[in-house]
Symmetry: C2
Amino acid sequence: MSDAQAVKRSASKAEGDERHEAIYRAVSDAIVEQRLKPGARLREDALADVFGISRTGIRKILQRLALEQLVTLTPRRGASVTRPTADEAKDVFDARQLIECGLMPDVARRMGDKEAAELRDMAKRERQALRNGEQSVAIRLSADFHVRIAQLSGNATLAAFVESLCSRSSLILAVYGHPGHLGCESHDHDDLVGYLETGNGERASAFMSRHLKAIEASLSMVEEEENVPDLQQIFGG
Amino acid sequence: MSDAQAVKRSASKAEGDERHEAIYRAVSDAIVEQRLKPGARLREDALADVFGISRTGIRKILQRLALEQLVTLTPRRGASVTRPTADEAKDVFDARQLIECGLMPDVARRMGDKEAAELRDMAKRERQALRNGEQSVAIRLSADFHVRIAQLSGNATLAAFVESLCSRSSLILAVYGHPGHLGCESHDHDDLVGYLETGNGERASAFMSRHLKAIEASLSMVEEEENVPDLQQIFGG
DNA sequence: GCTTGTTTTATTGTATACATTGAGCCATCA
DNA sequence: TGATGGCTCAATGTATACAATAAAACAAGC
């Protein structure tokens, strides 16, 4: 059953707010999982038809996604999946460095057996997805892993921000990453859980820093050239 | 001329987007400057009348403010200025500690004479406002000072997040701060500029940490008790 | 044949009407 | 007199109709 059908089916009973939340999540997931690729247009009518609500609700959802930088709203042009610039990509990864690494001590302090097991399970499922070639699932699980760790810090505000950063990272990987080469490969996530489990916040922080640097370094930061740059150069020269 | 009148007057010529932006800023400013106090209800009809647009545009603005946690949207109850909880307050100040302090090295590196002069001017105007008893102006300038510094880091994503945190801090001060005792008193801001000007990121970071801790310590973190807690206790016991 | 101007169409922006629901009020009854 | 029930009203949730506008298709001229 498709996402849209699942949402529609639950519509009859669910409250309006929950329906909106489900639709929001369906679109957000599709973007994070790269089934909706950067630059893809999101027409209001089409989305309204697919999810069985009117454009009013769709616009509300698109605005929310726009504030999270997942979609770009161009006046009179409508919504499209955001195509991050190289500058934005750098900002996002710098922010993740600062915050995710800075949270490691807190996370290590609050880490218990249950939390460690949960994280290990997520890492395991991520590896399995990678082996099975389920790229979308792997991307999502990787983002979820980072978000879950941030949540374990106990700071809801920072966790929500990390969630936003991870979603945007998925877009960045879609644009600048090499196809087939996923960000969080190897056993990095398992190793990280190990450091956190032993309460070694400093080592976890250093490891997270290397981990994020490795992801960023794997990107090929080539901005696509303008379509018609000749005219621009004429004006410039 | 009042904010609403100013917005209305510019409405005839301005594009719709700019009008919305102006209204958003008018409401946001009123909240940050504590002219709209936490808990104040924001009825859609009233706002629509005041600003001369329909409820549709007002709802869009309220949703944006809600995502920034400045207003709280209660289903079927409408919008009201957010009253931060003690937990939220702690999260916000912890987040500011991590981010604003972490940005100091970058800021110190990019600090030039022009930037330092701009910051000194803001600090000066803030002190003047405090002396003149213009509390709203002082609150705004204090928040602007912190935001401007974050912008100087060059990371737009983190700067936007700091802006959100500063706005929420204003709400927190409104609820938990002592009346008349403003957060950023004394010459802290001037001193901070001094450290940044000399490129001493580490000292600036340490100073910012103390500065934020001092603000947080000045709060009286007493959650107001529930109105009718007896029933709750009966169920609990 | 390519560029430019015009018409058409498709899509978003805005407002308003209607439905829904929570809150306040009043009357009735214990 | 106080509480509970229903009733009225006010405010929000939702959808739809209309207006504005940008893209696209098309036609005309160079």
